[in-house]
Structures are given as C-alpha cells and as structure tokens.
Amino acid sequence: MKIFGLKSLSAFFYYIFRSISIVLLAFLTCMEFAFNTDRFTVEDGRFDMKIPLIGSSIQVDYQFSDILTITLILIFGILLLYLLSNIFKTLKKTVIFNKGIIKNLKLLTILNLIIGPVLYFLIHYPIMHKTEFRNIHNLILLIIFGMISFFLTYVFQKGFSVQSENDLTI
C-alpha cells in the first residue's frame, strides 16, 4: 500500500486523527458546558454526567484536581491529534517536502518534548499529589515520539532544500 498520496495510508490516518480530535473537542466542550451550567448530578462524592447522543454517562470523583487533570489531558490529546492530522494532510499532497509540514513537526516536537513533560510533572505533583511513578511509561513514550518528530523535522528540512533547488533549476 502507498504511504504518500491521495489514496494512501497517510490519507487514512489523516481522516482517523482528525475525526478523533473533533470527537474529543466535542466531548471537552460538552463537559465544560455541563460544569458551567450545572447539568450534572453528584452522588457519593462522584459526579454523573450524561453524554449526549450516546446515552451513556461518565462518573468520576467530584474533585477539582480530577476535573482539572481530565481537562488538561483532553486539551493535550486534542492538540496532539490535530497536529498529527495536519502532518498526514500534508503527506496526502503531491509535493511532500514543504514548509507547512516542517512547521507542524516543530510544533509536535515542542508539544512532546516540552509541554508533555511539563504537564506530566504538573499533574503528578501540584495537582494530584502522587508519590509513585506507576505511569512513567507515558512520559517515556512522549519523549520517544518527540525525538522521532525531531528527527523527521531534520529529514523534511533537508528534503525541502533539495526540492527548492530542484524547482529553481530550469
């Protein structure tokens, strides 16, 4: 199967990532709207919130720290998936090496190598007051993906310079 181009794996991943990011954004908006308009019930210290269209509900401990953690993780996830979908959208085009993809890859690197770890420590210590490191693998994965996107940025920068040189040649 083709990796780049119109009917390729990149196109497939673009639709997948963009759809998930839209669904997550809708979920976050719905959750924040419910909190701001008191459209939820609290039972035994846990809030119960109905999810529209699906019919099911979410139940989490009714604590500011839990709600803030969920919100921050959702925002991070939406940004990550949106950037990934943008990258795959560019890979669908005929000219792969372009400035748009380099910009998105740089943002993805910053998100994985700086914002992700900062968010991890922020959630771990000041917000959730955790003392153990049971979910450290998430941080390691973020760093690994950050390094891969960092390397990809370099490959695209090199490719872009070759492409520009080629386009200038008559």
Partner: protein, 168 residues
C-alpha cells in the same frame, strides 16, 4: 545535524539497554527452569513461550544494533541515500514483524496464565486477552510506521537529489 542525531542516538542506546536487560531477565528464568525441577515456569508450553520470547528479543536487539549503525553514519553520509532508505525500510518492517510475534506470544500467555472471568463467555475472555496484548503493542507499531515513513521520505529525497545532480 549533530543535534538532531544526538537525541536519536541517545534514544536508540536506551532501547538497546532495555532490550539487553529483558534478554538477561528472560534468559535467567529459562536457565533456572532448565537447572531445577521446581516450578518457576509452570509447564512446557510456558518454556516454549519464554524461548520464543528470547528469540524475538534477540531479533529486536539485532534490529536496534543495525539501526544504531545507520544513525551513527548519518552525520558523515548524505541522509538521502539508497543505503539509508533500505536500512530504514528493513528496520521498520523488522519492528512490525517483532510486534506481531510478541503480540501472538502475549495472547497465548494471557490465554494460558490469566484466569477466565467466571460467568463470561469464551469470546469475551478471548477479546479481553486480544485487547490487552494489542494495547501493549501500539507504541511500537506507531514507531515502526514512523520509521517506514522516514524510509519512504529518504527514497523520495534520493530520487529528487539524483534528478538534481543530473541537471547541468
């Protein structure tokens, strides 16, 4: 260039270190099983699974060493070369095969060792085992896919570069 590859080198070296630790751990349990009759590993099927696991880990180590060599030559050679394209493709495919192999082993381990949930159907328990094994493999599958993307990019870049070099 050096900044870009240094981070990648660190990452590959870290992966090699973790794979070596895993090999030693699996090798240790295999040796203990072979040397004593006490049941560290419960049955022969487990022995076969540990052996296959060890083989797959050795394969992963070989792939990573190959990858390390490719990364270390990146700052001396041009990135867009046929050799680099071939290396990245073979490593990406190798990681896909490794993920598939480990996935099968994890499913079998779960079926053999995890107790089935009472009152639930065989399909439910099988689905749980498949789901648990697949969720562990997703990061490696994503890395393998990204390596295949890099390989394809290198090939595209190589074609462009050749076209460029031929132009007077």
């Amino acid at each position: 260039m050096k900044n870009y590859t240094t981070a990648f080198k660190f990452f590959v070296n870290l992966l090699i270190f973790t794979v070596i630790i895993s090999i030693l751990e699996k090798g240790g349990s295999l040796l203990k099983y072979l040397n004593s009759t006490s049941t560290i590993i419960s049955s022969n099927s487990d022995l076969i699974l540990v052996s296959f696991n060890l083989i797959l880990l050795s394969y992963a180590l070989w792939l990573l060493i190959k990858f390390r060599k490719t990364i270390y030559t990146l700052h001396t050679d041009s990135v867009f070369s046929a050799k680099n394209g071939f290396s990245f493709t073979s490593i990406g495919r190798g990681l896909l095969f490794y993920s598939a192999g480990i996935f099968i082993i994890r499913v079998l381990e779960n079926i053999l060792n995890k107790p089935a949930i009472k009152g639930e159907s065989v399909a439910y328990n099988l689905g749980r085992d498949f789901g648990a094994a697949l969720s562990d493999r997703i990061p490696l599958l994503v890395i393998a896919f990204f390596l295949l993307i890099v390989a394809q990019l290198i090939k595209e870049g190589y074609d462009l570069k050749q076209e460029n070099d031929l132009t007077i």
